[in-house]
């Protein structure tokens, strides 16, 4: 098993855009195969992997979900050898001019996103511009070559190579949410040779960035008793509002709000303190913006929790995380699974001291 940072760098060197997650799913299948009892792929492409527990049947299941899809773009038209693009997942178009990309056409084509100058744009920015209006991809080939190789629907992913800033800090594209998948992998490694009472599902969900569809349908299929979403959250920097962001290297964060069962929050908090692990409580008053949002309201409902890894420059190709935060998240998830008693659901209360 390669070093955590090596695996994470592999994870952020492949595309795996929403709806087209197979490049990253294959990496996960290979890495998780020796660490789990069984794996399957859902109808929407989510990866389900189970570590069976030791408690007697009917044995409850805990579900850990981290989305594997990444944001990017898709070819929406061809124009004189250039490619028009639309977004896959949410993109701020202001990050795009000058970005290096790969167009996954009949073969992979390196390219760059370019902004048309004003005199080539319609006089009034209106309907015809669309979401990524005025932006084109130039792959450096002639119009006829592009016509042969590319077509509407081809994916365009960021080509920014991973940047190892130091031993602790890594930057690159798709750290949202491959950082969490690295944490899940570290959790699996920490569980080797250890027993859990509950079954634990490790789910790499599909299409979180577009519809949360993977989490919703996987939770519906697997019907866990508890579900935890692992995602990234806004990392702070000097000058950023402290109440909206979390510092890098001092995490992970524990979510608090309508999307989180307070009893689960309390159990995670107690555990982190027992492990002497630094953490921050992250306030999410209504929605968490994570897979937990949909998992909580599947079928009869599921108590949910959100665990997050602070990340700077979210939804850009230069996202930055602390590898220490990833390791801590992995460890916390492993310890939570191990200490989960068979009758936890009977003890899960809303108020403290109930």
């Amino acid at each position: 098993m390669s070093e955590p940072v090596t695996f994470l760098k592999e994870l952020i060197s492949v595309a795996g855009l929403s709806g087209y997650e197979s490049p990253v799913r294959e990496l996960l299948q290979a890495a998780w195969r020796p660490l789990v009892d069984e794996m399957q792929v859902s109808r929407l492409g989510s990866l389900h992997a189970i570590r069976r527990g030791s408690a007697s049947e009917p044995r409850p299941a805990l579900l850990y979900a981290a989305h594997m899809d990444a944001i990017g773009m898709m070819v929406s038209g061809l124009l004189d050898g250039f490619l028009r693009i639309t977004e896959v997942g949410g993109l701020d178009p202001r990050i795009l001019p000058g970005q290096l990309v790969t167009v996954h056409a009949r073969k992979d084509l390196p390219g760059v996103v370019v902004q048309l100058p004003a005199h080539l744009l319609p006089a009034e920015a209106g309907e015809t511009l669309g979401k990524l209006g005025g932006l084109l991809v130039d792959v450096g080939l002639s119009a006829s070559e592009v016509q042969k190789l590319a077509r509407v629907g081809d994916l365009v992913s960021f080509a920014q190579p991973p940047i190892e800033l130091s031993e602790e800090y890594l930057a690159g594209h798709s750290l949202d949410n491959r950082a969490s998948l690295a944490a899940l992998t570290e959790c699996l490694q920490a569980l080797q040779g250890r027993q859990t009472a509950w079954d634990v599902w490790f789910v790499a969900t599909a299409q979180e960035e577009e519809t949360f569809g993977g989490a919703q349908t996987s939770a519906f299929q697997l019907r866990p008793a508890l579900a935890v979403a692992i995602d990234v959250t806004f990392g702070s920097a000097p000058g950023s509002p402290a109440y909206l962001t979390s510092p890098l290297g001092k995490g992970p964060t524990l979510g608090w709000g309508a999307n989180i069962h307070p009893g689960l929050y309390r159990r995670f908090k107690e555990l982190a303190e027992r492990l002497e692990m630094p953490y921050k409580t992250e306030l999410m008053p209504t929605y968490s913006g994570t897979d937990a949002e949909v998992m909580q309201i599947v079928a009869q409902g599921i108590p949910t929790m959100v665990l997050s890894i602070p990340l700077r420059y979210m939804h850009t190709p230069v996202e930055m995380v602390s590898l220490k935060d990833i390791a801590r998240a992995g460890r916390l998830l492993a310890e939570f699974a191990v200490q989960l008693e068979p009758d936890f659901m009977d003890r899960l209360t809303w108020e403290e001291g109930e």
Partner: protein
Amino acid sequence: MATRASLANPRPPRIAEAQIRLLERLCNACAVSGNESEVRKIVLEQVKPYASEVRVDALGNVLAVRLGQTSQPLRVMVAAHMDEVGLMLVDDEGDGIFRFDVIGGLNASQLVAKSVFVGREHVPGVIGRPIRISEDNDRDEKLTLDDLRIDVSPDNAKRVKAGDYATFSTAFARLGASLRAKAMDDRIGVANLIELLRNAPPNIDLLAAFTVQEEVGLRGARVAGYALNPDLALVLDCTPAHDLPFWEGDSTAAGQENTHYNTRLGAGPAIYISDASTIHDPRLIRHLMETAEQLRIPYQIRQPGGGGTDAGAIHRQRFGIPSVSLSVPGRYIHTPASLVRLEDWKNTLRLAHAALSRLTPAVLAADR
């Protein structure tokens, strides 16, 4: 040192693997205006075997002379600038985050979410917007320098400091018939000048000026022009190609043409008539065109209008120095990734070499 035999018959220079590798080294090197050392080192290493005299002047220009073989050869200055547009860290805000400023013409819109190298050690960093979280309703506002910071991570906070220079970290790449890199402006001119020095024609004293600080006001070229005081000057640069299509494409009723393209990729070396800082010498323009036509080298006219080259400073030195510019067209210059066509590069070098080889005092005989 150059040998007599190689001086006798100037082979027209070729662009082959070795030249592409050298351009790669040059483009990947980091040399912002005022801090050109990295490129200067490569230039010195490349020109020393071919020049009779090499010196580095007060601003850091590399001036290399290769004497001609005929009697009373024309003294021809050929210039290309070593510097690229870039950034300087100006304030340490802690935790590895720095406020920065731009050096040369760089648009903030090109800086968002890019990776950079900082300082001599090329410490990796990213440019981001750490202070505010992007919200849907602010996407219509352009981001400014004030919004952006360079972030080298807390661990590298002590490895860099205010005053360090930074450049994009884009790596050189070949895309079929195109080359993509940062700093094509003007490393491609530098590469061409190195080849010309290697293959200098015997009819001229070739006064090669690898200039500094072009991007911040043509400053190196000014003093180099004064010092060399040549008979005429040829400036090699990389000029924008805005040859992009209309967003509307063919569906506009009027069948519009892009009339502000400056130059076009694939249309050959660009000869300047005039730009914002120079009205180029018509005698030299004619010479370039006649040479191109005789040798069937494609060329295009760079549209008059904005911009400028080192010629802007050179032609005004001393008593006036007849000057002309010849550039490789490039898309997206002054952004992290510019694009040129291999064919245009080859033809620019061919034309420059042929034009130099055919220079005679007759070219400047008539009045301008």
